[in-house]
């Protein structure tokens, strides 16, 4: 299934990006797993998704990106749990906006933290005791963990930034760049 952009993650970051891209006339697909809780209320992302859908955005609600086809430093497509191996979601560029731990953008065990869709490079302390502060109300270091991006917000996988995979929202590591969606429109509009 071909789109002008595929966004993985349907929370605030993903929906915002989808809104900007679809306003620019792009055909957008959002893969949205279960939604996250938020201060503004859990109904807000639903309302956003519903508004996007009315504008022609394809929302795969309750679905999960499970695999990515990457060749020569480029993402060629992603597959999802529900659509199965027979359908590849393809686009000139992809935005990773899956958030952090609660929304399963990052998974962890006692020693490791990883990003499940692309196996992107995650920045986190090697020593587990540095992940958290015992003072409950102090800023917790693990909240700054996330995927590493370059100066154009392209995501690093295996030490090398993938050419057409960008990250935005909570999943981006503290201090790393988030995707400038308007710039992406300039770069990609009319390419295909």
């Amino acid at each position: 299934m071909r789109f002008d952009a595929v966004i993985i993650g349907g929370g605030y970051a993903g929906c915002t990006a989808a809104g900007i891209l679809s306003d620019a006339g792009m055909k957008v697909c959002v893969v949205s797993e279960g939604l996250s809780l938020s201060v503004s209320g859990s109904k807000t992302p639903y309302a956003a998704q519903s508004a996007l859908q009315k504008r022609g955005v394809t929302i795969l609600r309750g679905d999960r990106a499970v695999g990515a086809k990457v060749e020569d430093g480029r993402v060629l497509g992603i597959t999802t749990r529900n659509l199965g191996p027979g359908t590849m979601l393809e686009a000139p560029f992809y935005i990773l906006a899956t958030g952090k731990f609660f929304s399963r953008g990052l998974l962890s065990d006692k020693e490791h933290i990883w990003e499940p869709v692309f196996g992107a490079d995650v920045e986190y302390g090697a020593d587990r005791t540095s992940w958290f502060d015992e003072d409950f109300s102090a800023p917790q270091p693990f909240m700054g963990f996330g995927v590493k991006t370059d100066s154009s917000a392209r995501v690093y996988v295996g030490g090398k930034a993938l050419e057409n995979l960008f990250a935005t929202g909570d999943i981006v590591a503290k201090g790393c760049k988030e995707a400038n969606v308007t710039k992406l429109i300039e770069d990609y509009a009319g390419r295909e």
Partner: protein
Amino acid sequence: MLEGNNNLEQCLKCNLCTLVCPMMEVNPDYPGPKKAGPDGERYRLKDPAFFDYALKYCLNCKRCEVACPSDVHIGDMIQTARILYGSQAKRKGLRGLRDWTLASTDLVGSLASPFAPIVNGTLKLKPVKSVMDSVLAVDKHRTFPKYSAKKFVNWFRRQDQSSFSKFVSYFHGCYVNYNYPALGQAFVKVMNSAGYGVHLLEKEKCCGVALMSNGFADKARRQGEVNLASIRKAVAAGEVVLTTSSTCTFTMRDEYPDVLGLTNGDVRDSLMLSTKWLYEKISAGELKLKFRKNFSKKVIYHTACHMQKMGWQVYSIALLNLIPGVELTVLDQNCCGIAGTFGFKKENYPFSQQIGSKLFEDIRRSATPDAVVSTDCETCKWQIEMSTGMKVLNPIEIIAEALDR
């Protein structure tokens, strides 16, 4: 609970499931998916006496599972609890007879079909409806799906499919066979024009969804075994098994293993809705459909709950968009409220209509006199036709109508 399927510990108590539960909105007696599912399961595991009979209100729409960020099998837990602990709640007397009649789609279908004009006429009569309402507790406001005088399989037997070299198998389901052969005929037309012959399964039984929700899980399991055996034969012969009903498909792919404990992993990927198969074949360039140039139709697409759970509405929508002359509106996903046999029961009818009201309102807002509603679920079709007066077609019917020739 099925071993390995009980992941109640993954529940973070976020209540997103509660937010999307359609029953929760209209019925204060229903504890909601979180309490009925993972919370209640914790107690039920200790002592089945904790089983709450209000679980009967669960529509099994699975919207809770779609919303859950932690993949908790909320709906499966509720279904399983009803099967394991709710059997003593199986109704006795006339309501028990009603549940059994509503659940036995195969048997009732074969009995009613030969007398279709009489049965259809009788079921429309006000006095008959009143008696059914007061004696059997089948709500008098409900319109029954009409029975067809000619079964789909009888029509199909006279269709020559021998000229084809490639074949697909078709699981038609009870509704196509006893009530609405037109959909099966549309399916055959589409497949034939795509260059594929159609085979029926060696033996086909009702998928069992109505049996499961009415407390007849053992019978559902036996029927599931028959279906899976036939599906295996078709798959072994190199054929994909296609369907035109989202709920039958969902039941056989997901409820069989998750609720009934049947193993289907070997054939699950070969069993799918025809719109998914068609779309994937078309986009791989392996198949072409030729559409009429002068076709024009305004279509309002409703995503059935089980369709949303499978996530496959994208295929039906994409196929409808391929037809030149189709002007498509996609509605927000809302439950129509009928939930199979649930909405036929007198005690549920008001909930059913209240739940559906959001969808009906949406449809009325998008409707023009020449528009049709399209959905992949037959019970949504009954509910929408009865409640809005709009004509409802399966996407396959619209495709068949738009085909050149």
